[in-house]
Symmetry: C2
Subunit: 258 residues, 2 copies
């Protein structure tokens, strides 16, 4: 069943996470897997790169069809390290990132390390997808994500996404037969509120834990990724790496006096 593809796998929850094990299981039938994932959790790292301190790359497994490396940096570092140190004279056919343990719908996409890696793959011209299971429950079951991940992958391999675009797939944390379907969506509008919990250390100084509640700014918007998942659909958003607003560019150009 192997398509013989060269597949680069990464994530932001770290090389030991449940989500990357599920992703490896999901991707095994499709080709040769090279996993380069962070040593430790790198959630919320967006497309961050490590500048000013050196990186390490450690081989953890090397078996038929599966190599696993841990990298000391961010998800985007992992992709750069894979491309510069491992894929020397060839390109991966595909990059898959995840399966993230938590939603990357709405503006979570701005902060997501899972998608930072998919964006980085796209910069190299690799067809790239990020998968996320929308729950933080530590005992989450990834089988719904694997099931729909494969369905989406089959389409992706038949009809790829245009250059400079990657896919953000969010899967609701429900049983396979409870899922209502798969929907193309757009990045929903949202905000976090109550973002920090302030505490006082034993020496009398304040410190702040990032926490926060997501606040959906368009609960009635048809087509928002956040709403799709809330309603029990798997959401797919195509994101682009060129974030220029061309319409606003033209508008400002015509009215600003420079």
């Amino acid at each position: 069943m192997s398509t013989g593809k060269k597949i680069l796998i990464t994530n932001d929850d770290g090389v030991k996470s449940k989500g990357i094990s599920a992703l490896i299981e999901m991707m095994r039938p499709y080709g040769e897997l090279t996993v380069v994932a962070p040593f430790e959790a790198q959630s919320g790292m967006s497309a961050a790169l490590t500048i000013g301190k050196p990186l390490r790359l450690t081989e953890l497994r090397n078996e038929e069809g599966l190599k696993v490396f841990a990298c000391s940096g961010t998800p985007a570092d992992c992709v750069k390290m894979a491309m510069n140190q491992l894929f020397l004279n060839e390109m991966p056919d595909l990059l898959v990132s995840g399966i993230n343990h938590g939603s990357n719908a709405s503006i979570a996409s701005l902060y997501s390390g899972t998608l930072g890696a998919a964006s980085e793959g796209t910069v190299y011209g690799i067809p790239s997808i990020g998968f996320s299971l929308c729950t933080h429950n530590p005992s989450a079951d990834f089988s719904t994500a694997v099931h729909f991940g494969r369905k989406i992958l089959e389409q992706f391999l038949k009809e790829p996404v245009k250059p400079n675009i990657y896919l953000n797939v969010n899967i609701p944390a429900i049983e396979i037969d409870e899922v209502k379907g798969i929907k193309f969506s757009h990045q929903g509008k949202g905000q976090w509120i109550k973002e920090f919990e302030a505490r006082t250390d034993p020496y009398g100084f304040n410190y702040y834990w990032m926490t926060g509640e997501f606040y959906n700014l368009e609960p009635d918007e048809v087509g928002s990724d956040y709403n799709a998942v809330e309603e029990g659909y798997v959401s797919i958003v195509p994101h682009k790496i060129d974030t220029t607003d061309y319409q606003e560019l033209k508008r400002l150009e015509s009215i600003w006096k420079l």
Copy 2:
């Protein structure tokens, strides 16, 4: 001359950098400044947030029209901290980030902490701009950036940018009278090559410094921000926080079988 505005200032080179001192000087005439910037350099941090370890916020200066705080996190953390701990019942009228010591044109915008902060301001609905001086020369002169920064700010205050969009301003590192003008541009296409320098530690293990050369993928493209700066123009790109590709969404929706 003060417009009495409440202005939030941040950056990614850290609270002690030359660029933020230049930005404070540039912004002083426009209102009350609240600076919340990283303790240390946070270049390449994109929109990353600090999750899993707590943040600190320390007041460094408090004088008429200027408060300065250092935050232990990323540029986006600084914005969140300012909004949650300092601007409690009011919104800043403006967020300015920078002046970055180095270009944020082309795909540097994906990794830029300067722009990560501007993006974060935009999420809160604050009109936001990131400024960058296109040189890494440690003895760089920021006066050209301050001069054109003010010109752009005057227009920005008269005719603001639409919601969910922030500006990325890149200034060439040349004398004021050598600048050919100010141009609206789009995010240029580029890549980094030769991205790591591998070394061996005293114990025989490899480690990798991120270095890299920028490779311009569209040297002849009229309207690219990178080319504008190369030609001696100040470049302004409007970036949006909704990175959905709506055209690709429609295309995939019509051809994928899900």
